[in-house]
């Protein structure tokens, strides 16, 4: 492989940088149209209640209110993101299933009037008992969230590969641990909004969406329209992290309000409503059993999980499968069993958050693996290296892994973090932990069943060749795909990045792309872009061949210059050749598309987790614990990733930093808390505790030299995979520092303090008993700690 690239591999500045630093970049909520109205959705104050009546008359009489709609005014077709379980309605008609469920909507002249009008809609409810505890949602006699799903079971998975029981029976050591992961929320800084407008029978929606294509598909389906009559335009997007992948209700309600009023309608969620809509990470109960040989080599693993789905499916079926599917990636073992129930509760629906399904199981598995290593007296780094997956292998659940440098990542992070020294010398209260992660580079199959390509791209070269525009349906949610794809286009064309423009994404102008989820765009959108760029280059070389009188295969185009590979003749500029092409042959266009190969096995659920390539990474973190308060100071974090060929190093490391930031928050600080009525207690950013700049430790991010043979120029994913090791890494660092294991996320200061206190108390007792018996002290047992629940009015600002 040649590393002789002009455009890729360089930290070029972001294509959208100037617009974003000057405030010129327009996000959906910044757009204004003549005659535009503002719309808001009325949501349920109850976790579970029957709707007895809705009276909108008073709201309709309020000056400035232009329309009020309820379930009677909208299509009744149920929708969702996972086709196997369409279970959401635009508005509830019979009952509401969580605090925040959608009941009605208004369109008004201004925002203030919307809030006032919502208060005037009178909804009479019969409050029903609610299923709020997912651990008991399947029990007899629990309230039924959906009548059609008995025992509140939304998804049930039972998979076995190899012979787990036999392997466990033959193992030198078998251990079981249980862990609990908390519900977290993506919390993009930009709130969701949508602007809907009609032109006769054609519907246009501007939306802060991660996938214009899925939006277009689902909205056309809901309103029984041809897809061609639905146009989705994605302006700049202020972060998504999985939370903006699916219809939010804003675009359905907005479309109906726009139709009724004949005016554009901007619908939006404020911060508390975003938390209520949610679709964040599922809370999860995770029991892990492994059997190892005397060297710590894993022989078999069993994962027995239970997931809190909330009131609707969202993308939760995939989340449930992902939770188990990605576990056998970083370590090699042949025998694997995965059992999962995803249950409905009367809480906001959970969905796909960065690292989809994988971070919490990884936390459980990585914590468990350290416990196993401690049992056997093996260094945590060594047990991971012993088990590290090798390239060109197949997982027990039939995922083909091509490039894989997890072992190199571990070896490098060991050196970078000064692991061996620290492991020996850190005092009590200081600790160091390691964990690994892996993630798909795009999903092998679409979310709904279709044979459409996963990505497509056009390139249009300007008539005089001084610019080229990339048209793509991919979505830059902040990760930098617009920049990276322009680099890839320029590289493939033999052009300059600085002359690239991009249009992304507008379903009427840009070709299909499934959008920003499952870490797919650099690889999949990139493959389509590369093909389009190569088509442009081929035409350029053919034209230049005519102009120079040399065979096309003797010509090369690089950095905007066309030259002969063998002869010393004057080179031509891309501009003059492109212009000549336009004059003689018409528009200079390139087209590309990408469809993944058939992937995966044939068992039930085999598709989820398939991917043409997998990223790998290892992280080490060092913490200092204040023994008296449990306060955790993060001393440093080191991350080494195998993410294939790097297109833009600065953007890539930015992805690692951001993934680490989210993982770090989830590890210790973030949690969505509910009261006993199913209401969120901390639906604002201060009390949800997004970390600030002063909370962040020094972060060192490196990559290992890697090339993925199936990807364009050898690329793989990075954006989500880097979230996966972090939770387990923190758990292990705290374990190393204090010798206590907190078995539930977040690993809060209080839980650490409590675990230490209980350890001291146990040791006191043991010491007293030993003094009587004359025995050595016992090894402390891991603890389960309980999340806090209580009532208090919350004021965000202390003044």
């Amino acid at each position: 492989m040649s590393d002789n690239h002009s455009v890729i591999g360089r930290s070029v500045p972001r294509i959208d940088g100037p617009e974003k630093v000057t405030g010129a970049a327009k996000y959906t909520g910044d757009l204004k149209f003549p005659n535009m109205l503002y719309g808001k959705i009325l949501t349920s104050p109850h976790a579970h209640a029957r709707i007895l009546s809705i009276d909108t008359s008073e709201a309709e009489r309020l000056p400035g209110v232009k329309a009020v709609i309820t379930h009677k005014d909208v299509p009744t077709l149920k929708y969702g993101l996972s086709p196997a379980r369409w279970d959401e309605s635009i508005f509830c008609s019979d009952k509401v299933r969580f605090v925040g469920d959608k009941v009605a909507a208004v369109a008004c002249l201004d925002e203030d009037t919307c809030y006032k009008a919502l208060k005037l809609i009178k909804v009479e409810y019969e409050v029903l008992p609610a299923a709020l505890d997912f651990l008991h949602a399947m029990d007899e006699g629990q309230p039924q969230v959906h009548e059609e799903y008995a025992r509140n079971i939304n998804t049930e998975i039972h998979q076995e590969f190899g012979d787990v029981e036999k392997a466990l029976a033959e193992a030198h050591h078998v251990r079981t641990d249980t862990f609990v992961g908390q519900r977290t929320y993506q919390s993009p800084i930009e709130p969701h909004s949508a602007i809907s407008m009609w032109d006769a029978e054609k519907l246009t929606i501007y939306s802060s969406t991660q996938s214009p294509h899925y939006f277009q598909h689902y909205i056309a389906r809901e309103f029984d329209m041809p897809m061609g009559d639905v146009r989705i335009i994605k302006p700049y997007l202020g972060g998504g992290f999985g939370g903006k992948l699916e219809p939010t209700g804003l675009e359905f309600a907005g479309a109906v309000l726009a139709k009724l009023t004949g005016r554009p309608v901007r619908t939006f969620y404020d911060r508390a409503e975003m938390f209520a809509h949610n679709r964040g990470r599922h809370a999860q109960y995770m029991e892990i059993t492994t059997g190892v040989d005397k060297n710590g080599k894993i022989l078999a693993a069993k994962a027995n999980f239970l997931m809190d789905g909330g009131a609707y499916t969202s993308l939760g079926i995939a989340s449930a499968y992902y939770a188990g599917a990605l576990l056998p990636l970083t370590y090699e073992f042949d025998n694997y069993q995965f059992d999962m129930f995803r249950v409905y509760t009367n809480l906001p629906a959970c969905g796909a958050q960065r690292g989809h399904g994988a971070p919490q199981p990884k936390y459980a598995f990585e914590s468990h693996l350290d416990n196993v290593a401690a049992d056997l007296g093996i260094d945590p780094m060594d047990i991971r290296i012993i088990n590290a997956r090798r390239p060109n292998t197949v997982t027990p659940n039939d995922f083909r892994v091509n490039s894989c440098k997890i072992k190199e990542c571990l070896e490098r992070v060991r050196v970078m973090s000064d692991w061996d020294e620290k492991k020996k010398n850190l005092p009590l209260g200081r600790g160091i932990g390691v964990a690994t992660g892996s993630f798909v580079t795009g999903a092998g199959y679409p979310i709904y069943r279709t044979d459409l390509p996963h990505a497509a791209a056009f390139i249009k070269v300007c008539e005089d060749g001084t610019a080229a525009t990339l048209y793509t349906g991919s979505v830059d949610i902040g990760q930098g795909s617009d920049t990276v794809l322009c680099q890839m286009a320029a590289e493939a064309m033999g052009y300059r990045y600085e002359q690239m423009k991009i249009v992304a994404a507008d379903t009427e102008i840009t070709p299909l792309d499934f959008g920003a989820y499952a870490s797919r765009q650099t690889y999949m959108s990139g493959a389509a872009v590369k093909q389009a760029g190569e088509e442009v280059k081929r035409q350029i070389l053919e034209m230049a061949s005519v102009m120079l009188g040399l065979p096309a295969d003797d010509l090369e185009c690089d950095d905007g210059q066309i030259f002969s590979k063998s002869r010393n003749v004057k080179s031509l500029s891309f501009e003059e050749v492109a212009r000549k092409h336009f004059v003689l042959r018409g528009p200079l266009l390139g087209r590309g598309s990408y469809t993944p190969p058939k992937l995966g096995g044939s068992f039930k659920g085999a598709a989820v987790g398939t991917s043409p390539a997998y990223s790998f990474g290892a992280q080490v973190g060092e913490v200092a614990i204040d023994e008296e308060t449990g306060e955790i100071t993060v001393v440093g974090i080191w991350d080494v990733h195998d993410c294939g060929k790097v297109i833009n190093p600065r953007l890539l490391h930015g992805q690692v930093h951001g993934a680490l930031y989210m993982g770090m928050g989830e590890a210790v600080w973030e949690e969505v808390l509910f009261d006993d009525k199913g209401r969120i207690k901390n639906a604002e950013l201060a009390n949800y505790r997004l970390l600030t700049a002063v909370d962040m430790p020094p972060i060192t991010s490196e990559v290992v030299d890697s090339y993925e043979p199936s990807g364009p120029w050898g690329v793989k994913e990075v954006g989500e995979g880097a979230t996966n090791p972090t939770l387990g890494m923190f758990s292990n660092a705290i374990f190393d520092a204090m010798g206590v294991r907190v078995n539930s996320l977040p690993l809060s200061y209080e839980k650490v303090w409590r675990a230490l206190k209980e350890k001291r108390e146990r040791e006191e007792i043991a010491k007293r008993e030993d003094a009587q018996r004359g025995l050595a002290p016992q090894v402390p047992v891991p603890l389960e700690t309980v999340p806090l629940e209580s009532e208090e009015p919350v004021y965000a600002n202390p003044s």
Binding site: E19, I189, G238, H657, T692, I699, N797
Partner: protein, 171 residues
Amino acid sequence: MAQAITDKDGVKRYLITLNVNGDAHTILVKGNAILTNVLRDQLDLTGTKKGCELGDCGSCTVLLDGKPVDSCLVLAVEADGRQITTIEGVMENGRLDAIQQSMINHAAVQCGYCTPGMVLSAKALLTRNPHPNEQEVREAISGNLCRCTGYVHIVEAVLATAQGRVTPDDH
């Protein structure tokens, strides 16, 4: 106090002058109009973002008489007659400010939604303290939440600006 005008429905509006980025805008606002909304909806200065509307995220940061404040916690009437700098006023003579250029060059921008507030907080810091240390930079931007970057490149960009190196070595 600002002159008040009452309409036929009894709604009172106040005639105020906001000096935004050097331009004096004399406008009518209701008493409960929030500065963020007035800047965005009445003056079309949408670079000032709405993130949480409660002073938690800093997306709506503007400089009020040179000091960063959350404009979501300021009534427009309270800003009557005061000097306001929004992100649209940071460029001078069509040229990016050094902090803006540095943010671009260091890849300190991802989704960009926190960026206007971040630029203004950093700008205010560098104006009052041209040579901050890393802790001072972190404190100065701690009221600006960023969900994308872990602040790593942002802190780098601000420090580099103070040191006159808006272009990193790896460029």
